[in-house]
């Protein structure tokens, strides 16, 4: 089918579209842009869908959020509850809490909207996090995509704050406890802590200004910023064209995939409906944040086993395992025990993530554009850092539930906390070493597959009585994929004699860079060269026996016996 030149016949209904299209083009001249973008190519892979999960759940958040705002009253004025939920009748509570009860019990479909909104928030954060990991492990942050990496980090950070702001609005006992902790964190900021606290809360905690203020941040300020950043993220993506995986015919100079209209419009548009549908089913069947069970916020009460939403868990964990260090200097107090885990840890992680693309580029000296994704194993050091990060995050996350772990696993709470205090430093290092070695082992496996084929599991006995396993060649497409990555040159050190004394510092920096580069690429398994492959091929040729059904195994069978031809065959026989 030729798709490029097909146009509707003049009398077909499609031709009628020309009228309105011309009307618009006469006024805003869109055809020039549209002609390129309507059939824009997007590559296809399941991992490219992770960012879409985040995008579509953000759309769901906007839709459900607009509906919720029609009934929610962001007010801390005290009222006597007199609504449908009998257990809380006659109890004093804020209007925010009462209106959330009304949404849950009196507005038809209100509970569904509330639960969809909350589930979508959790999915939004999860989608962004996993999308970020995909970008990290495949090297999609490399030139020219560093700006989109930074925009993405900004959205992740805003998303965390937005989520926290959202679940704090109903003013129930659980969210009030979260706000009380946030108040403690703000107070711990050296010098200006109490001033910030009083300005943010309009006086002492909790006061009656905070929920209305938080509301406008939650429904206008942060969503507006997110929307702007999402637009920039998408525009840059369209301009730079999507990355794709190495494969036959897929190079750094092209992009192979399906056109926006119709395939991507249908697939991606359809995926919005699927994300929406799943969120609605979750909202219908899976209870989340049943605020009527917690009761209204009362600063003198708390429930044991209080847990934040999942994306705050790692900060909660940091807060729990931090030793109780506090410094008193000249009549002033610095609460390291609160300030470090509560605020510095998040700043530290996001700074590391933001600097990472630039640090890697400096170490590897790679200034080129990259549009073909790395298989994670081909970047063992990067993989190691990523796994170390996941391990650290996971340990903090688990530490955030140390009381839950203790009660459910019948362990000592103190022992878990002490374990975590050390594990948070040791665990990532161990994970780094294991992941890096594992990746190198996988590289070795790839090399074996290319040179000797895959293990068939068929054991044969030679006339002399020796046993050996038959290896069968992998397809040429597969072999190409396994060898499509680049051989990486090591960063070479400028010889010392050439450097004058004035530039000694730079030389020191270069030496550090050279050492880091050695470590970065150290122990990598080089992919086979043509001559190595030929040698291996000869070897296989001699050893290769013929199995029972006349199916020749080994490279010499070429394309004759079905399966995939191993294309090197012709040049070596």
């Amino acid at each position: 089918m030729s798709t490029a030149t097909r146009r509707p016949a003049p009398d077909s209904p499609m031709a009628k579209l020309g009228g309105p299209a011309k009307w618009f083009d006469d006024r805003i001249g869109l055809a020039g842009l549209a002609k390129k973008q309507i059939r824009k190519v997007f590559p296809d892979h399941w991992s490219f869908m992770l960012g879409e999960i985040a995008l579509w759940s953000f759309v769901i958040l906007l839709i459900t959020g607009v509906f919720l705002s029609l009934w929610f009253k962001p007010s801390m004025s005290e009222i006597d509850y007199n609504g449908t939920y009998a257990q809380l009748r006659g109890i004093k509570m804020s209007e925010a809490y009462a209106s959330t009860l009304d949404i849950s019990f009196d507005v038809r479909g209100g509970l569904l909207l509330r639960q969809m909104h909350h589930w979508a928030a959790n999915i939004f954060l999860a989608g962004m996090t996993i999308h970020m990991l995909r970008i990290f492990f495949t090297g999609a942050f490399r030139k020219p995509r560093e700006i989109n990496w930074l925009i993405g980090l900004g959205m992740l950070m805003l998303g965390i704050i937005e989520g926290f702001a959202g679940y704090s609005l109903p003013d129930d006992l659980l969210s009030g406890t979260g706000l009380r902790i946030a108040d403690g964190l703000i107070r711990s900021i050296p010098v200006v802590g109490t001033y910030l606290e009083f300005f943010i809360f309009g006086g002492q905690f909790p006061g009656d200004d905070f929920i209305p203020r938080l509301y406008i941040v939650h429904v206008l300020l942060i969503p507006g910023l997110l929307l702007a950043l999402i637009s920039a993220h998408m525009l840059i993506l369209v301009y730079q064209k999507h990355t794709h995986w190495a494969g036959p015919g897929r190079t750094n100079r092209n992009v192979v995939g399906y056109p926006m209209l119709p395939i991507y419009a249908a697939k991606s548009g359809g995926f919005f409906f699927i994300v929406f549908g799943i969120t609605a089913l979750m909202g219908a069947l899976m209870q989340i944040n049943p605020i009527w069970m917690y009761g209204p916020y009362d600063p003198s009460q708390v429930t044991a086993g209080s847990q934040p939403d999942w994306y705050m868990g790692w900060l909660e964990g940091a807060l729990r395992i931090m030793p109780n260090w506090e410094t008193h200097v000249a009549g002033f107090t610095i609460s390291w025990n609160v300030f470090i885990p509560g605020l510095a840890v998040m700043g530290f992680l996001f700074t590391l993530l933001a600097l990472y693309p630039f640090v890697e580029r400096w170490i590897t000296g790679d200034q080129r554009e990259h549009h073909v994704l790395d298989r994670p194993r081909n970047q063992p050091t990067r993989l190691g850092f990523g796994v170390a990060g996941i391990t650290g995050y996971g340990l903090l996350w688990a530490a955030g539930g140390n009381d839950i772990l203790a009660t459910h696993l019948h362990l000592s709470l103190e022992a878990i906390t002490w374990f975590m205090r050390f594990a948070i430093f040791i665990g990532p290092v161990v994970a780094f070493i294991i992941a890096r070695r594992w990746a190198i082992a996988l590289q070795r496996h790839d090399r074996e597959s290319v040179m000797h084929g895959y293990e068939t599991g068929v054991i044969v006995r030679s006339p002399e009585g020796a046993y050996s396993e038959i290896h069968s060649p992998i397809s040429s497409e597969r072999a190409y994929i396994l060898t499509a990555h680049e051989r990486r040159p090591k960063h070479s050190l400028v010889s010392r004699e050439d450097v004058s004394g004035v530039r000694a510092r730079k030389q020191g920096k270069e030496r550090l860079r050279s050492r880091l580069s050695d470590f970065w690429f150290g122990d990598e398994i080089p992919k086979p060269t043509v001559s190595e492959l030929e040698a291996a091929h000869e070897h296989t040729h001699e050893e290769s026996p013929v199995v029972g059904d006349g199916h020749h195994v080994g490279i010499e069978t070429g394309g004759q016996t079905g399966g995939d031809p191993f294309e090197l065959d012709e040049s070596t026989t």
Partner: protein, 366 residues
């Protein structure tokens, strides 16, 4: 600009010919010593629905059925909204809630699945090759842009007229100040508010739910009582006079964020008071702030054998037999203790306010 491959794939180049890409922008294809040459895009294989009209018709019916069912479910949502009693239950769940969620969720799901089935089975599935062009602009464009900028900058005289430039930068710079200054009235200055509570000498320590005053005999050994200052509640004096609560609304919430206390009673022999605190308890009853010195959660997990009190939020643990000192967890400071005594009617009262600020640490706390 477009050219078709023999098998129907369409190649499209941007306005830049890929061969014109300046070296260094995109890595040149390295062919020397590459073990496996690029086999090129695999040939397009027709799908079963491309060659079998029966399967094609079936796929068409499947997609239409999904869209049709979605329509029915969406209408079902509207009917259910009016037809189902909002308070009816089904298997313990709200019948209306579950019905609305299921109809809406399944309708969306079916639309999505239908669209994807359509794309996968019936829409043309020819892969298209599009060439990338260098992300950066051409050298000429870069130079022209810079030249245009410098011509404009030069015409403005921005570089030459230093007086105008500097005064403009200053004028723009101070514009940020009003935005910060007007934030001043977000709240009052802290003053000594973080350091004081409503506790004063003579205020009764009362039950936190009903506001009933507490006699020492009401507290048994091993027991923990959540308590608050009597001024939070309506008080009935012996004369029969009724005093209304001193706080309400936000003022009550603010006071409640600092003033809650707990009463615990332990055998007097177990208590190891500081010399200055020997007479701060009554018959083994001690009174401590309920607000954790870590980040301010109300503390309530009481282990009567060890006399330890644990915060449910971050597990800071305080030894109440040893003046509330920290024995575990992230809190740095002892739990503040409130000296208590007994009034003329035999009820527990505060003998003074707290001697130190309660709750989380802050810069000025010292």
């Amino acid at each position: 600009m477009s050219s078709d491959f023999a098998d129907g794939r369409v190649a499209r180049a941007g306005k830049d010919n890929p061969d014109d890409i300046p070296p260094g922008q995109l890595p040149a294809p390295i062919l020397a010593n590459e073990p496996i040459p690029d086999p090129g895009l695999p040939a397009h294989e027709p799908r079963p629905t491309d060659v079998d009209s029966k399967l094609e018709k079936r796929a068409e019916r499947q997609v239409a059925a999904m869209f049709g069912a979605a329509t029915v479910l969406t209408l079902g949502f509207c009917v259910a909204y009016f037809a189902i009693d909002p308070h009816a239950l089904i298997f313990g769940y709200g019948a209306l809630h579950v019905t609305l969620g299921l109809t809406l969720g399944l309708a969306f799901l079916l639309i999505g699945l239908g669209a994807i089935q359509w794309a996968k089975k019936l829409m043309a599935d020819n892969e298209i090759v599009e060439y990338r062009h260098s992300t950066s602009s051409s050298k000429e464009d870069q130079e022209e842009a810079l030249t245009a900028f410098f011509v404009g900058a030069d015409e403005s005289g921005f570089g030459r007229r230093k007086m105008i430039r500097n005064s403009m930068i200053a004028a723009m710079g101070v514009l940020g100040l009003p935005a910060i200054v007007v934030l001043r009235d977000l709240g009052p200055l802290p003053g000594d508010l973080p350091e004081v509570t409503v506790w004063r000498k003579g205020i009764r320590v009362v039950n936190d739910v009903a506001g009933t005053p507490i006699k020492p005999a009401d507290v048994e050994i091993g027991q923990l009582v959540n308590a608050e200052p009597a001024v939070f509640f309506e008080q009935r004096l012996p004369s029969g006079k009724v005093i209304p609560p001193k706080f309400e609304g936000a003022a009550l919430e603010d006071a409640k964020a600092k003033a809650p206390v707990i009463l615990v009673r332990m055998p007097p022999a177990d208590i190891h008071p500081l010399p200055s605190r020997r007479n701060w308890g009554v018959n083994g009853i001690l009174c401590y702030s309920k607000i954790c010195t870590h980040v301010g959660c109300p503390i309530s997990l009481w282990e009567q054998q060890t006399h330890q009190l644990q915060c449910p939020c971050h597990q800071s643990t305080f030894d109440l037999a040893h003046n509330g000192r920290v024995v575990f967890g992230p809190a740095a400071r002892s739990l503040p203790q409130l000296p208590i005594g007994v009034d003329s009617e035999g009820y527990l009262i505060a003998m003074s306010g707290f001697h130190e600020p309660v709750g989380p640490s802050f810069w000025e706390r010292g």
